[in-house]
Amino acid sequence: MAIGVKVMHRPQPESTSYLRAALSGMALTFRHMVNPVKVTQQYPEEQTELHPRWRGTHVMETHADGRPKCVACGLCPTVCPANCIRLVGGEDDQGNRYPIVYEIDEFRCIFCGMCQEVCPVEAIHVGQHFENAEYTRARFVYDLDRLMEQDHPVTNLWDPSDPTGE
């Protein structure tokens, strides 16, 4: 089959009026004025509801007396694929193993959530949070105090009543 060329006959500007198109456009505008359909979300006054498994910046859970739950077992820096966790373990005055240094570089983090999954004491969690703006890059390395201060809700990566998904 030979290739055919379709010839378009468009109306020339001088032979047509813009009026009809303008009126139909304005009709649409005025229709929305009297019958508004809300699509714009008024962020930040209105907050988005995050998906239950949203994985945002980390939270370190604490005991009732304010100590971190972390026991410095070293599994999260081991499992971390982005190598963004720095951990130095030690012993506190009550003989408990605890992290002397615990830092997460949130810039290097890929938010896979494996640190939370691997944690044997449910200390480190990814969180329901995404508003992380800072003025300097250095502020994105969260140290232990900062991680314990985070007050946003943590993510449930699995159903607490059925942790193995059976």
Binding site: V71, A72, C73, G74, L75, T78, G89, G90, E91, G95, N96, R97, P120, V121
Partner: protein, 554 residues
């Protein structure tokens, strides 16, 4: 008890009658082993590791952990592999349903009171209980009763005891009574309440070998205080090395993380140290991590200040000056902590400069500390690893037993002075001030190197490849575990380059080259090469002299 080290088997074999052997079948494989071998050891020869706790090749076998029970055809019940000797035509199954089922049951009992605190346990990652349960244990525990709790106990020395983690294999008790022969530990109470304990408050303080019980503990019950919470087992890199704490030359492994030595563990070598090492050697690693190192060659300027320069410039200037002074007598001071290659290169350099005297200073302790159950192992009097090597190279000892003094002649020498590795801790900044050329080759910059015309930064033995000669003349290799700081290079490379320029000989490019050159030049090192030395070292082939004089060299 199998703590007797094997005598030189290869030479003894031809005269002795051929040892009787036994042929049996283990897991379908036919195995031929000497008569009297246990099933567990016979299985090892075909690469089958039968799980066990209480058995250790260096200790007696009480057969009490019940984990190495294997199925022997014809026997009414499973047999403990660690004490059952092999018999002809025996058929052994280590992974049959019966054997596996037995192990699964035994492991479940071990977990009845085990706290499962792997996240905070230092043994995690290299723990036999963890490994065996992971490989063969039940997926879920069935225990519902509360676990008994002992808490932890400070045993003294470098040892902490976590009673809850203990599997009661009693290896530690047997080590103290059979090998160290200083009975400090025992089992108190019975049954479920039994626990390892010390006698009253005596503890392990004052023992010299108790660090070994941490190594042989198959679980995390005995842990080292120095290593407590320092690193996870899976983060550590293991580098074979030789202990530099005395002239025994124990084979060790340096465990490093992030370019820092975290701990030292003994490496099995039945001809030298068996499975053991002393507590002094075990604690002697912090110096490898010291940060105040010389990182660049330093050349003294006309105004007396030192300037960091590139290697080429430092060696070029040094060569020009050395050629001017060639023929002037050389006095060299070396450290007995330097490797054979380093010392050999220095000896060649002194020869190329026209000859001179090389002395070394080395600390000596008053007495040997012998491991009673393994008498070929002792903490020797010479507290440096390569005293024998220095002696074989014709260097002689000066100074007192605390490695001070004896350098008056060198101090006032007006020819060429070379110092390799000696920290010159007892000397002041006037040392070598009258020398025509004073070269300091070392790792750290002491006050006594203030007058040096050239300071050359070199590596420690933990940062380079090389060999030490132990008190008996055995040459043993070590490997680099750390990255050298800055521009520091091995001394054999630096000095070898100088020798090459002075004499026109080939410059050694590798430590193996350097050793080959040494073996050629010095008959006492002859007949050996790196591939022959392997990981466990060897005695030089020729010199009966080197071996026999080793006895008094201790």
């Amino acid at each position: 008890m199998s703590t007797t080290p094997p005598t030189s088997a290869p030479t003894a074999a031809p005269s002795a009658p051929a040892p009787a052997t036994v042929t049996l079948t283990i897991d379908g494989q036919t195995v031929t082993v000497p008569k009297g071998t246990t099933i567990l050891e016979a299985a090892k020869t075909i690469g089958t590791k039968v799980p066990h706790y209480c058995y250790h090749p260096g200790l007696s076998s009480p057969a009490m952990c019940r984990l190495c029970l294997v199925e022997v055809e014809g026997a009414p019940k499973p047999q403990p592999g660690c004490v059952t000797t092999v018999a002809d035509n025996q058929v052994v199954r280590t992974v049959s349903d019966k054997a596996l089922g037995n192990r699964q049951g035994v492991l479940e009992f071990y977990l009845v009171n085990h706290p499962l605190d792997c996240p905070i346990c230092d043994m995690s990652g290299e723990c036999d209980l963890q490994n065996y349960v992971h490989a063969e244990g039940r997926e879920h525990g069935r225990g519902v009763e509360p676990k008994r709790v002992f808490g932890r106990d400070d045993f003294g020395g470098d040892v902490l005891f976590y009673g809850d983690r203990c599997v009661m294999c009693t290896r530690c008790v047997r080590f103290m009574s059979e090998v160290e022969k200083d009975e400090r530990l025992t089992v108190v109470e019975r049954g479920n309440r039994s626990v390892i304990d010390t006698f009253f408050d005596e503890g392990l303080d004052g023992t010299h070998w108790s660090g070994n019980i941490v190594d042989i503990c198959p679980v995390g019950a005995l842990v080292s205080k120095a290593f407590l919470h320092k690193a996870r087992a899976w983060d550590l890199e293991h580098t074979p090395s030789v202990c530099a704490s005395c002239s025994q030359g124990c084979n060790v492994e340096l465990h490093t993380r992030d370019n820092v030595v975290q701990r030292v563990k003994p490496r099995e070598n039945l001809d030298v140290n068996g499975w053991w090492m002393c507590d002094y050697g075990r604690a002697d690693y912090e110096w490898m991590n010291e940060g105040d190192r010389i990182e660049a060659p330093l050349v003294r300027q006309a105004d007396g200040s030192s300037k960091a320069v590139a290697w080429k410039e430092a060696l070029g200037g040094l060569l020009a000056r050395a050629k001017e002074l060639q023929g002037r007598p050389v006095k060299a001071v070396v450290s007995a902590r330097a490797s054979n290659e380093d010392l050999g290169a220095l000896a060649e350099l002194v020869g190329a400069l026209g000859g001179g005297e090389i002395v070394y200073r080395s600390p000596r302790s008053a007495e040997e500390i012998v491991l009673q159950g393994f008498p070929t192992l002792a903490r020797r009097k010479d507290l440096a690893p390569n005293v024998k090597g220095a002696e074989l190279l014709g260097m002689h000892r000066v100074g007192a037993d605390d490695a001070t003094g004896g350098l008056d002649k060198v101090r006032a020498h007006d020819g060429i002075v070379v110092v390799l590795g000696d920290a010159l801790a007892d000397q002041d900044e006037r040392f070598g001030a009258s020398a025509a050329l004073y070269v300091y080759v070392g790792t750290q910059l002491p006050v006594a190197a203030r007058a040096a015309h050239v300071v050359l930064p070199v590596t420690t033995h933990a940062e380079q490849e090389g060999t030490f000669t132990n008190h008996a003349g055995r040459v043993q290799r070590f490997w680099p575990a750390l990255t050298a700081p800055g521009m520091a290079r091995p001394a054999w490379l630096v000095l070898g380059a100088l020798v090459g320029e002075l004499s026109g000989e080939a410059v050694p490019r590798t430590a193996a080259d350097a050793y080959a050159a040494l073996a050629e030049a010095v008959p006492a090192f002859g007949g050996l090469a790196y591939p022959k030395l392997g990981a466990r070292g060897a005695l030089p082939m020729i010199s009966g002299a080197a071996v026999s004089s080793g006895a008094k060299g201790a």
